[in-house]
């Protein structure tokens, strides 16, 4: 169900989708910082974060009908969109590095990298504690997928696991995270 204040945002989204640029600007002022910050932290690149933010709000303008206030807040909708666009760029960069490894040296295209890099992205103690509460292999799969932008197939390659195993671990890990995050009042549902 929409919450107080969500109706206003839904009306702004509808207005923006209908061609009201002032409505879109208001939404940008409300949520542009969060969208840009998420993209910047994932991509570690200001210019690419600009691109992601621009794309997210232009998509909201063109495809505002995709937002359903009954299924979550606008902020969540925008952050999910931003994560998806940022992941596209991370994967393109991974693919580029993979193409460059053509000198005969066989190495993984998606080496996991230091776990500390991932942990540095986690800001909230609550989220950190919740992640630490689930089995390490589930946490590792979720971290590589969400914070490094790897597909589950790339995660499987990076961890030397079967794709089915990784899919299951991500799913069970997310289910396991739900409890502690909900207890701390962090989930929307």
């Amino acid at each position: 169900m929409p919450r107080t204040g969500d109706h206003d945002e839904a009306a702004l989204v509808a207005a923006a989708h209908g061609g009201d640029s002032a409505a879109l600007e208001r939404l940008y002022r409300l949520h542009g910082g969060a969208v840009h910050g998420l993209a910047r932290r994932l991509l570690r690149n200001e210019a690419l974060a600009d691109d992601v933010t621009q794309e997210v709000f232009v998509r909201l303008w063109r495809r505002g009908d995709r937002f359903d206030p009954n299924r979550g807040t606008l902020r969540s909708f925008l952050l999910r969109d931003a994560h998806g666009r940022a992941v596209d760029l991370l994967r393109a960069e991974t693919a580029r590095r993979s193409r460059e490894e053509t000198d005969g040296r066989r190495s993984s295209a998606v080496a996991p990298g230091p776990e500390q890099e991932v942990w540095d992205l986690v800001r909230s103690d609550h989220v950190r504690e919740a992640l630490e509460s689930i089995p390490e292999r589930e946490r590792q799969a979720i971290a590589l997928a969400y914070y490094r932008g790897l597909s589950y197939k790339q995660v499987a390659e990076a961890l030397g696991e079967a794709e089915g195993t990784v899919k299951s671990r991500i799913r069970s890990g997310l289910k396991r995270l739900q409890g502690p995050l909900t207890q701390r009042g962090l989930t929307e549902t």
Binding site: S76, R99, L177, Q178, L186
Partner: protein, 233 residues
């Protein structure tokens, strides 16, 4: 893809850890099955906590609004042409564009052997599915300012899955181009609101590009492609 396979994918879907094709398959299944939808919503809610944790409370960058405002200004088709391609920098870094038509584009190609079985509601679904399942068939995602999936069979018969492309004005059309032997040839005029569109191309295909043209299409394009994909090797 079976319901069980969709179910197994839900976690990866919630984390954006699936391909575009898999995402489509999952979302079509979610539209049909409330139980799957409920689980997906729960998993997505968890991923949104991770997203919220990544997103700082900071003001929106002032300099970006002018860029966004310029992009959404009329005419309606203009923004697609004027838009700064999101992957241009990465493409430039990669130095990947060897064919003339993609000189200004970013390239991201995901070659996949993918089952496409959840397009049942589309009249061309079975033909797409059959083509995708044939030995030697490829499924690729053209990307740039937008993304679109193309399925190409070994006999040169293919399909553009254009159902997620934004609608154009009535005086414009999407047009698909195939790169064959270093030549760029029209593979189909798709219309202003394409869904699943069949096409045929003869000869060894090195890649595809998608442009926006005047209604009716053109013989040779002077527009920057809005999406492109190259076959490697």
């Amino acid at each position: 893809m079976t319901d069980h396979e969709i179910e197994e994918l839900l976690g990866a879907y919630a984390l954006d850890a699936v391909t575009d094709i898999e995402r489509r398959q999952v979302e079509r299944a979610l539209d049909l099955d409330p139980r799957l939808r409920a689980e997906a919503d729960e998993l997505v809610a968890v991923s949104l906590v991770l997203a919220g944790d990544l997103a700082p409370d900071e003001p929106a960058p002032d300099h970006l609004w002018a860029t966004i405002e310029a992009e959404i200004s009329p005419p309606a088709v203009g923004p697609i042409h004027r838009r700064r391609p999101i992957r241009r920098r990465l493409a430039a870094a990669a130095g990947a564009a060897a064919v003339a038509i993609v000189a200004v584009l970013a390239v991201t190609v995901f070659l996949q052997r993918t089952e496409i079985s959840d397009l049942r509601e589309d009249p061309l679904a079975s033909a797409v599915e059959e083509t995708a399942d044939r030995a030697g068939a490829i499924t690729m995602t053209l990307s740039g300012d937008t993304t679109v999936d193309v399925v190409l069979g070994p006999d040169g018969v293919g399909y553009v899955l254009g159902d997620e492309l934004p609608a154009l004005d009535a005086d414009s059309t999407y047009q698909l181009w195939a790169i064959v032997d270093d030549r760029v040839i029209s593979a189909g005029v798709l219309g202003a609101e394409p869904a699943v569109s069949p096409f045929r191309v003869d000869g060894p295909v090195a890649g595809f590009a998608l442009t926006v043209e005047q209604a009716g299409g053109v013989v040779s394009s002077e527009q920057d492609p809005i999406a492109v994909g190259l076959l490697e090797g």
